[in-house]
Every structure is written in C-alpha cells, then in structure tokens.
Symmetry: C2
Subunit: 162 residues, 2 copies
C-alpha cells in the first residue's frame, strides 16, 4: 500500500468518525491513528471523535479521543504512525502529538481553524493539509448551527454573546 493510499484510508476513518459525531449532535471532528511501519501492512490502531457534547468532556477532542482509544502503546509504535484529523489540531492535540513524537500529521482542512501546525513543523513533524471539501463543509455547517459549543471547544468567547 502506498503512503497516499494509507493517507486516504486514515482520513476516511477520521471523516467517518466526524460524521458519526455530527449525527449524535456532537462536534464533527474525527481522528484516526494508523501504524504503518515500513514493510508491514498498515493498521488503524484507533479512530474516534470529539466527545465534548456526548461525554461532557473538556479534553476529548478528536485527536485526544483517538489516542485514548488506541490505549497504552510503547514509544516506538507512535514513532511509526501517522495521525489523521479532519480539522487542524489545536494546541492541546498538537502537544499530544509532540509528546508521543508522532512524525506525521494529515489534516483534512484548516480553513475553519488553524491550530499548532507551525509548532509541529518547527519540531520536525511532517504536516500535510488535504483541503478536503467534505471536512470543510461539515465543520462550517456545525459552526453556524452551534457556535457556542464550537468556541467553548477552543477556549474562546463566543463573539457577540459572552
């Protein structure tokens, strides 16, 4: 499987989770962690989504939720993996990627939000933005429907209401 095929697989798993979250009334951000050491068959270790609304959670962003679902892993596993996320990772999720030294981050879109991409790059992490229309449209729709929940999720005041 080529890296491009692995990326298509990983992003699709993340998008499926984003849609699932939206269908539950939650924030539609999904993420997956794919282990693809050279010469082995890639394996989706976990895929999950933002759980702010579903679990009243302040920390289960898409990426944190995927890392949590992947369970306890040895350092080496993270270093042979790529993390996929439908939206540019916030500083918390950026920090988690740096903690575990995940070398590649594939982002569905960064038009609705730009997180810690520069910090990732300056730490040697490969950052790929796919400009995926489906990710963009789903997130834009949610931000219009539930702006307070979206701003709460990134620790910001809701413009015009707070």
């Amino acid at each position: 499987m080529s890296l491009q095929e692995i990326d298509a697989l990983g992003l699709q798993a993340a998008i499926a989770q984003a849609k699932k979250s939206y269908s539950e009334g939650g924030i539609p951000i999904g993420s997956s962690l794919v282990h693809h050491p050279k010469g082995s068959t890639p394996k989706i270790l976990a895929a999950s989504h933002n759980q702010r609304i579903q679990k009243e959670s302040a920390t289960l962003h898409g990426e944190i939720s995927a890392l949590e679902a992947a369970g306890r892993l040895k350092a080496q596993i993270y270093r042979e993996s790529t993390i996929y996320t439908t939206l540019s990772p916030c500083m918390m999720c950026t920090g988690a990627i740096l903690l575990y030294k995940i070398p590649r981050v594939v982002i569905g879109e960064n038009k609705n939000f730009v997180g810690g991409e520069e910090l990732l790059k300056s730490n040697g992490v490969e950052v790929i933005v796919l400009e995926n229309e489906e990710c963009k449209e789903l997130m834009t729709k949610f931000m219009q429907e539930k702006p307070e929940e979206w701003f709460e999720d990134i620790g910001e005041y809701t413009p015009g209401t707070d």
Copy 2:
C-alpha cells in the same frame, strides 16, 4: 486569601492526588484547577491524578485528568484560574493549558522532568516552580520502582531495555 495561600491550597490538593495515585499503584502525579477571580473566594474546580495504570489511559496525565474532571467550562473560567501540578507539565498538558489560556501554572517540582515551561512562558503564562521536596521524593521513588511505566508516560524508550 492571599495568592500564596491559594497556591498552598492548590498544591496540597495536587499532592494529595499524587499520593492517592501512588497508593493505587499508579503514576504519582497530581493536579488541581483552582478558580480564583479577584474579590471572590477561591474554589477548587477539580483535582485528579495520572490514570495511565489505573485506567490504561494514554491521555489522562494529571493535568488532563484535572481538566477533564472540571467538566465543560466557559472560556472566562479558565482565564481566572491557576492549574497546579506536582511535576513540570509535558507537551500535551502544556498544550491543554495554552488551549484554555490558563494564565498561571504552579509546579511542585521540575528536577525529575522538565516539560513545556519555556513554551508556556513565551506565550505569556506565569510559571512558578515551588521545588517541593515531597513531590520530588515521591516521583523519584516511582521512577526507580517502575521506570518502564514512567518512560511510557512521556513517550520515551526505557533506557537499556527497549
């Protein structure tokens, strides 16, 4: 209550959680989140501890666990709070502090591990290190007893074994 008294309260809550975690066989890192807007009585919003061993968790570090236990909060609450942690915060927890724009971080000790203190400071976060002997001794003891769990918690190889 003076800021110094609030800090003593917050750190003691974090230390109590670190000890609880140690007594459960877990990683002895505790954290608390204290809301102390000017002119109001300080309130401990949450206190918790690292849950790697107890919950097989890859993301519930002390600070993430305290933020999770505090539940969904409006942006303003974080900005009027201090987070306490028995050990210098790793990059993930540093990122969470930056996400929520928590303006003050009080650290029990940073001799056993130094996390994202410089990144916090360069983003305008006040960082105070108390050099607390109890924090230092408990963590040193754990790192000697269970080095593999400790290195796993910070995404590192265990020296000499991996």
